[in-house]
């Protein structure tokens, strides 16, 4: 369970990881970028997405395989990413932690803001 520093999920990493999970079997660089752009409105450079995916794979949260050749993109294959068990656990943990903290906020706080 112990979240070592090396396995810590950064904000953008978490977002990417979620996107990979959501795209399920269709998660490759451009698709992830598009999904992030359409869901959050954040325009990120493709190189940043690649970088994060590479990092997540190194941490073991995602795994990748090369897809088959297509006629698109000069016949070059895509690298597809899928969520691993560790990745799913890390997401659960981070979302659990958030919920826990969110629930711990006293109702009082909301009254203040009114």
């Amino acid at each position: 369970m112990g979240n070592t520093k090396g396995n810590h999920l950064g904000e953008f990493e978490e977002l990417t990881l979620l996107t990979v999970g959501a795209l399920f079997d269709e998660a490759y660089g451009v698709a992830v970028m598009d999904e992030i752009a359409s869901r959050t409105g954040r325009s990120v450079n493709i190189s940043a997405v690649h970088e994060v995916l590479k990092r997540l794979e190194k941490k073991g949260f995602v795994q990748s395989r090369m897809g088959g050749a297509t006629n698109e993109r000069g016949g070059r294959r895509k690298r597809y990413f899928t969520l691993t068990f560790e990745g799913k656990t890390a997401l659960d943990q981070s979302i659990g932690l958030r919920n826990e903290l969110y629930n711990a906020i006293p109702k009082l706080t909301f009254n203040f803001s009114q």
Partner: protein
């Protein structure tokens, strides 16, 4: 449809990208490209594709060659360590190398800063691309000259009648006695158009930038502010200026300029609005009236060539108004060229050195750098003789040639880095301050831009590193381990290349030494050279009016030591007005001195023909003239006496010829001169002739009396003998510079020789040991060891000395009129000097050899 991503970007991606990652990255970027091309257009897609490729250029995506693997890092550590060990083991040699390179680097930095500064003069004016200095071309019998003086009326007309001209600023220099409370000094006053601060970016320390739009306002430089007001605030203070002709005006100080930065080529002390000039001058302003400088600022996007056709009418206007100066054409000099060209523009207000000076110091620093690099190369190759076994062992253990090259290059880079650091320190603490002592201004230790500084230092490191390191590295790495271990590998002294290098070093050393001797001999020649008259014992007081002339005459008669006294309107080496004279269609330019009858003989001018003016003659004899022999030569007269010439529609008859004289120094050739008589009311200079040893005493007496004669005017006095001081100072500075340079060259040459020799002798120790055992005398050994270097020296002398001679001959003829004919003395001196220094270096080493016990040499190893 041939819509494809930019090829070069794709090639770049393929070049840097790790092969494992290439496919997916290429795929994704290309997919995005086609999508964007369809959605946003081809251009945008291409731009974004390039951006993506650049963004992918990250450490984690890079192709990593074997060289960057971990074990090459370890090897690099080992290279560093061995490099340091080697440098500290041969510390004498290392110091020679480092110090030599540091000297060269230091001088290169200094020279670069200097040249950089010269080429960035006035670059701080933000509108510099649109500002032009107007000059004109005048052709006479000496060819075309460029003049900075332009018709006074030209500026406003240009501004009013041409839409592309945004602004015109004229500057006209004048002198005046400036007074604040009890402080009176003579200052250079400049009349300028009030828009000067719109055109130029001179910063004001206090006051408003439109200060000069009020007619009675003035702006002063920080130096003037300090001189008159010290700590006081000068703003609002009233200063009175007394101009020539006894007219006084008062101005309120409305602005003080900041200290001028070093790259300000034209500077002003006191600025007053140009509108005052008409009130001060009687003359009706006509088209032959000239300014000291005219600057033109064009509207954005216009070129001065658009004005060319319209300048003709100004030429006509000017040439019709004057009989003297016929302007041939006007030229607009871009502001950034103004200071660089000021050496060839007469009366230019910008400071700027002669390009020959920059070229010379550039060549010199290049020579020093080359010397230092040769030094390093030679010693590195020679020292490899000691390291052959190390090289062989490395190769046997599996090191390939690249590794050996790395080892040697690493050592070289360490050495270069040390030298760069030391050289920078030398330049900062020694060379730049030393150089500044010779310059008329202080040069800061900065580059014009940070980028340039980085480029220069980086470039220097690469060039020195490659130039000095690559030959040894590649040469040594070539050796075969087998032949090394067998002892067949020959190296060092027998090597032709190292001899060539050594001769190059010595050639350069000879060249600079000969050049130095030629130069300094020439300098000494100038120190003793005749000016054309004897200036000793003459001193001159600037006077304002006839009253002062009469009072000083009375005073001069009372002091018994005064041998003679005279007065004049113009004065040799103080005010030398150039005019045009004409005889039978021959027009020449000549200086014109209007003076009292006894002026020529009082000034010690030597009569060659005819007679001086009669002392009783007065201005009624104003049609008589005394001329000098250059005047005669230019006119082409064989019998100059009683010839006539016209000047300003008067005709003069020649009654005497005096020897011609130099003005301000020996840089420029003698100018024709003629003397005519004038009234005391015109006198501006009062000259005393006194015995040389009493000159300063009498000067004190005159000074004391002056404050009674003219309490409102400063005591402005010049000793004639100091007239060439500017010339002599720069002459001495040049000699000092040459001395320092040739000293460096000798040091570098000898250090190289010393290093090389000590290695070669060590290599031949056994040979000497055997010879000694077999009964060789010490003299034989010395001869033997010296023989090969003697030849190198002789060859170097015969190549280097003539080169140095040629170089200096060109330079001297460029810089001076009538330099000394080069004699054999510099050559004899330089060969003697080099022989002594080289001899000492060699003998010191060889004595070591001959003293050693042969048994020890032969036993060791």
């Amino acid at each position: 449809m041939n819509l494809i991503p930019p090829k070069w970007a794709d090639r770049f991606l393929r070049w840097y990208c790790h092969p494992d990652l290439l496919e997916e990255i290429q795929g994704d970027t290309e997919e995005l490209f086609y999508r964007r091309a369809a959605e946003e257009g081809e251009k945008k897609a291409k731009r974004k594709y390039i951006w993506d490729v650049i963004r992918f250029f990250r450490w984690s995506n890079l192709k990593k060659s074997n060289k960057l693997k971990i074990n090459s890092l370890i090897m690099f550590n080992s290279y560093l360590k061995i490099g340091f060990r080697n440098l500290s083991k041969n510390w004498v040699i290392s110091i020679i190398n480092i110090f030599g390179l540091a000297l060269a680097v230091g001088s290169a930095i200094t020279v670069f800063i200097f040249v950089d500064l010269q080429h960035n003069m006035d670059s701080f004016h933000s509108k510099k691309d649109r500002i032009y200095a107007l000059i004109n071309h005048v052709t006479d019998e000496n060819g075309t000259e460029f003049w900075a003086t332009n018709p006074f009326l030209l500026g406003p007309d240009l501004k009013d009648n041409h839409t592309i001209v945004e602004n015109v600023v004229r500057a006209k220099f004048d002198y005046g006695n400036m007074r604040y409370e009890n402080k009176v000094f003579r200052e250079t006053i400049t009349y300028v158009d009030s828009s000067i601060f719109n055109m130029f970016d001179f910063q004001l320390a206090s006051g408003a930038r439109n200060a000069l739009s009020e007619k009675q306002n003035m702006v002063i430089s920080s130096l003037i502010a300090e001189k008159y007001f010290g700590e006081e605030d000068p703003i609002g203070q009233v200063i009175s200026i007394k101009f020539n002709g006894n007219r006084t005006q008062s101005y309120a100080i409305a602005g003080v300029l900041e200290k001028y930065s070093a790259n300000t080529s034209f500077r002003f002390d006191v600025l007053v609005p140009v509108s005052n000039i008409r009130e001060l001058r009687d003359e009706n302003v006509s088209w032959d009236w000239l300014t000291s400088a005219t600057f033109v600022q064009l509207n954005e996007g216009h070129s001065p060539s658009e004005l060319d056709a319209q300048m003709d009418k100004y030429i006509t206007l000017h040439n019709e108004a004057t009989s003297d100066w016929k302007i041939e054409k006007f030229e607009f000099v871009p502001l950034d060229q103004f200071a660089l060209r000021s050496y060839e523009i007469r009366r230019s207000i910008a400071m700027g050195g002669h390009p020959a000076g920059r070229l010379t110091i550039g060549i010199i620093s290049f020579i020093l750098l080359a010397l230092a690099c040769f030094n390093y190369m030679n010693i590195a190759v020679a020292s490899a003789a000691k390291r052959l076994k190390e090289i062989a062992l490395r190769k046997v253990m599996g090191g390939n040639r690249t590794h050996i090259v790395h080892q040697f290059m690493t050592e070289n880079v360490i050495l270069c880095a040390f030298s760069m650091a030391l050289g920078t320190l030398l330049s900062y603490y020694l060379f730049v301050p030393g150089f500044n002592m010779m310059l008329p201004f202080a040069m800061p230790f900065t580059f014009s831009s940070f980028r340039l500084g980085v480029l220069f230092f980086g470039g220097l490191l690469v060039v020195i590193g490659l130039a000095s390191g690559s030959y040894p590295a590649f040469y040594i790495s070539k050796f075969q381990p087998v032949s090394i271990f067998k002892g067949n590998q020959k190296l060092g002294g027998k090597n032709l290349f190292s001899k060539v290098l050594l001769s190059m070093q010595l050639i350069l050393a000879f060249m600079t030494v000969v050049a130095c001797f030629v130069f300094s001999e020439n300098g000494r020649h100038f120190n003793a050279k005749d000016w054309g008259y004897n200036p000793n014992g003459l001193f001159t007081v600037v006077i304002q009016n006839e009253h002062q002339y009469n009072e000083l005459s009375k005073l001069a008669q009372q002091i018994p030591a005064v041998e003679m006294f005279t007065a004049s309107n113009a004065h040799i080496n103080s005010y030398d007005p150039l005019t045009t004279v004409e005889n039978l269609g021959v027009e020449i330019k000549s200086n014109h001195y209007r003076c009292a009858p006894n002026y020529p003989q009082t000034m010690n001018l030597r009569l060659m023909e005819g007679k001086y003016f009669d002392e009783r003659q007065n201005a009624e004899a104003s049609n008589l003239a005394i001329i000098d022999d250059v005047f005669v030569k230019k006119m082409g007269w064989l019998e100059p006496l009683n010839q006539t010439f016209t000047h300003d529609s008067s005709t003069f008859t020649v009654i005497g010829v005096v020897e011609s004289f130099y003005l301000y120094g020996f840089h420029s050739e003698k100018t024709p001169a003629f003397f005519t008589l004038t009234d005391p009311k015109d006198f501006l200079y009062f000259t005393f002739k006194v015995p040389e040893d009493q000159m300063f005493d009498i000067d004190d007496q005159v000074r004391e009396a002056w404050f009674d004669i003219a309490p409102n005017d400063p005591f402005n006095r010049k000793f004639q003998m100091f007239a060439f001081d500017g010339f002599y100072q720069s002459n001495d500075a040049n000699i000092a510079l040459m001395g320092v340079v040739s000293f460096f060259a000798i040091i570098l040459g000898c250090m190289g020789l010393f290093g090389l020799l000590s290695f070669n002798l060590q290599r031949r120790m056994k040979e000497f040991g055997v010879r000694k055992v077999l009964g060789a005398e010490r003299g034989t050994l010395i001869k033997l060891a010296n023989k090969e270097y003697l030849w190198v020296m002789v060859v170097s002398f015969f190549l280097g000395a003539p080169l140095g001679y040629l170089l200096m001959d060109k330079l001297l003829n460029l810089m001076y009129q009538d330099p000394l004919q080069i004699t054999a003395i510099p050559f004899i001196l330089s060969i003697a000097l080099m022989a002594i220094t080289v001899g000492l270096t060699v003998t010191g080493q060889i004595l070591n050899v001959t003293k050693v016990n042969p048994a020890e040499i032969l036993r060791s190893e």
